[in-house]
């Protein structure tokens, strides 16, 4: 008897989506989809606005990673302002932005691992949902919960001193930044008594990596094999191949590690990346043009970044990177749950970067902005917490935006997330007559590993209850559950 299973909305992710899984007469999964069901339309309503407004306006896409949009848009308008493509700013301009960005990475990764993902790992994806949440963690592991909150708070404080406030600041402007870092601000983050200082954040980030590695030793089969499939991987890398979350060239590798995009200039992204529209989702499906939509889709985010980069330019994270790469003998890692591992190594890298930047005297300099010859078009890319983020603007003679194209990190992961849903649905639901809460959450665990921000990806709005419906071949409702 054919059945249709709906999971709506997917929970413990940023934004709202739903999953439908179609079972055929034999109870096998015939089709599964992650639908993104809302729409906002930032690309359209930014048209007509002055270009220098874009970094402040477009960051309103998101309340979790506004810094990423703020900086990607700022990088794009840098080009329009004649300030170059990422390396033309003054040292204080670039380093203040980097500090803001690493603060963002640190807080967002901490939020995802501890608040959203850890409950599944600590208690099991099919454990009691009453316990399987951040409150459950606080009740059973108080120290870890406090650490999680403090790490996120620290990242937010870094953002506040660079962007002016924790959420939706205005720090990055065309050609640079609107403030430097005062000695008082620096010392608040660098030298405050324990636990709220940069050294402690490095220690805690290292402890988080160790926590995961310990979990991995005990749960190797689950971490290695839950939703494992081959894919291409894409990210920015530094020109020398090092991990760089703020600026670089576009590199993509296939599942075996062969380069399929060889260090492409970000301004040329449209020559290499295309987006496909499908009727059942507001989220587009990006792919590498040369390979086409069938074979050209790719993953972005922590897993992809550690697959494309050759090394990490901070010592503690590099040490962890080397150990991480041994798991796959140096080859690309295609195991979905290893995204958590990669994300925590990036969290450690971010903590090291924050500490190093806070010690950099360039941040107290006053030459905040550079200006060059005006351009009519600009592209800005960076590595947001969830993956590569593309901002592209064109302006008219009056400085008004006439075209905006955003390929948001989560959008890049659209096809991989759909693949994860299908993989898990086939493994967990084939031949089953009743939906269990554990099965539903298993699907969500797969999606959650990508740390998707569905609001960003579709510029979404709205909220929905979770409803799961089991229907018979004539559409009759056999089972329905709410969360």
């Amino acid at each position: 008897m054919a059945q249709k299973i709906t999971i709506e909305p997917v929970t413990r992710v940023e934004g709202h989506g739903k999953v439908t899984i179609q079972l055929d007469d034999s109870g096998n999964v015939s089709q599964s989809r992650l639908h993104i069901v809302e729409f906002r339309g930032f690309e359209r309503f930014v048209q007509g606005r002055p270009y220098w407004e874009a970094p402040v306006l477009v960051q309103r896409l998101c309340g979790i990673c506004p810094v990423s949009h703020h900086l990607a848009a700022a990088k794009a308008v840098d080009v329009i302002y004649g300030a170059g493509t990422g390396d033309g700013l003054t040292p204080v301009g670039e380093k203040m932005r980097r500090l803001m960005h690493y603060g963002q990475m640190f807080q967002s990764h901490s939020l995802h691992f501890f608040h959203l993902a850890a409950p599944d790992l600590l208690f099991g994806y099919d454990s009691d949902p009453v316990k399987r949440n951040v409150i459950g963690i606080a009740m059973t592991n108080k120290d870890l919960a406090v650490q999680a909150v403090m790490m996120r708070k620290y990242g937010q404080e870094v953002i506040a001193v660079t962007a002016g406030k924790k959420i939706h600041g205005t720090g990055a402007i065309p050609g640079g930044i609107n403030k430097n870092l005062s000695i008082e601000e620096r010392d608040t983050l660098l030298k405050a008594p324990n636990p709220f200082n940069a050294d402690m954040m490095v220690t805690w980030a290292q402890a988080a990596v160790d926590f995961f590695k310990n979990y991995y030793k005990k749960n190797r089969d689950f971490i290695d094999n839950f939703s494992k499939f081959d894919s291409n991987h894409l990210s920015l890398v530094r020109k020398d191949g090092g991990l760089d979350l703020y600026h670089g060239v576009i590199r993509a590798v296939d599942a075996s590690g062969k380069k399929i995009l060889n260090d492409v200039d970000t301004q040329d992204y449209l020559e290499y990346i295309r987006e496909e529209v499908r009727s059942w989702s507001y989220m587009k499906f990006p792919y590498i043009k040369e390979l086409g939509p069938e074979k050209g889709w790719y993953r972005v985010g922590p897993l992809a970044r550690l697959n494309t980069c050759a090394f990490i330019p901070t010592p503690l994270a590099q040490k962890e990177f080397e150990e991480y790469k041994k798991v796959t003998n140096g080859k690309p890692n295609n195991m979905c749950m290893h995204m958590h591992y990669a994300r925590l190594i990036e969290t450690l890298h971010s903590a090291e970067m924050i500490r190093d930047l806070l010690n950099d005297p360039d941040l107290q300099k006053d030459n905040l902005v550079v200006k060059g010859t005006k351009q009519k078009e600009g592209v800005g890319l960076l590595e947001a917490p969830r993956g590569t983020l593309f901002h592209h603007y064109k302006i008219n003679d009056n400085d008004q935006i006439v075209m905006c194209n955003l390929i948001v990190s989560t959008t890049n992961n659209n096809q991989p997330m759909n693949n994860s849903v299908e993989y898990i649905a086939k493994a967990m639901m084939t031949g089953k007559k009743e939906i269990t809460e554990g099965m539903m959450n298993a699907v969500e665990v797969g999606i959650r590993a990508y740390d998707p921000c569905l609001s960003c990806a579709t510029h979404a709005y709205g909220s929905m209850p979770l409803e799961v419906t089991l229907k018979g071949p004539k559409g009759e409702v056999i089972d329905r559950k709410y969360k």
Partner: protein, 231 residues
């Protein structure tokens, strides 16, 4: 030599030179009367009505009233505060004021008054008018979405020949304040900045300098509007 007169505001005994504009006279006595269309140094207009006070029991705009001997003025009453709040609410409903992405945010008088009068939710239905940005000028932009038609720019910004850089366009409720192509032709950066500063909202914007003042250093980041006068 100026003749000084005595008057009271909310019962407080005050003194100022006879004929002083009431807004200014109150300020000299450490009392804040809110204004929007009024601007120090240019002739008052009395168009926004937010400075309305009760003088000897009758409502009048403080920007167009000159102080005289024995005036009894009510300024800080529940009724007047409610009235002023309604003026702010109507201005927000009449235009398209999106503070989150406005570069005047933090230095905007309308926004500062909304904070002062605790405007938390829309009191009137938004009119969502379809308005454009006038962006042709090399130094200035006029965002009609944010214009409250206070006319401070028309009265206060003149070129080297003494002609107003801004001019009326259209009529009635469709009235717009435009940049005059002729009189604004050769304005320098200093006058462009003065035009931006004289606008109480974000309707007049100097091109390519947006958001250069960081959060924390904007006009009303540290203290609410009027608090520099009230003691």
């Amino acid at each position: 030599m100026a003749t000084f007169v005595k008057f009271t505001i909310d019962g407080k005994e005050c003194m100022a030179a006879e004929g002083t504009q009431l807004v200014e006279a109150a300020k000299q006595n450490d009392i804040y009367i809110p204004t929007l269309c009024n601007y120090e140094g240019i002739p008052p207009k009395g168009s926004c009505r937010i400075c309305t006070v009760n003088i000897n029991g009758r409502p009048a705009t403080a920007c167009t009233t000159k102080v005289s001997e024995g005036m009894e003025i009510q300024n800080n009453t529940e009724e007047l505060s409610g009235f002023r709040k309604a003026v702010v609410e109507m201005l927000f409903a009449e235009g398209n004021h999106f503070c989150p992405s406005c570069e005047k945010s933090g230095s905007c008088e309308l926004q500062a008054l909304a904070y002062k009068y605790t405007v938390l939710v829309p009191a009137f239905p938004y009119m969502n008018p379809a308005r454009d940005i006038e962006a042709w000028h090399p130094k200035l932009m006029k965002d009609h979405n944010r214009c409250i038609q206070c006319k401070r720019c028309i009265r206060g910004i003149t070129n080297a020949e003494g002609k107003s850089v801004f001019a009326f366009g259209k009529r009635g409720h469709n009235v717009m304040i435009n940049i005059d192509p002729e009189t604004s032709k050769n304005i320098n950066d200093e006058l462009a900045q003065k035009a931006m500063d004289i606008c109480p909202v974000g309707a007049i914007i100097r091109k390519e300098i947006g958001f250069k003042v960081s959060i924390g250093k904007r006009k009303y980041d540290k203290q609410p509007i009027g608090s520099d006068i009230e003691k």
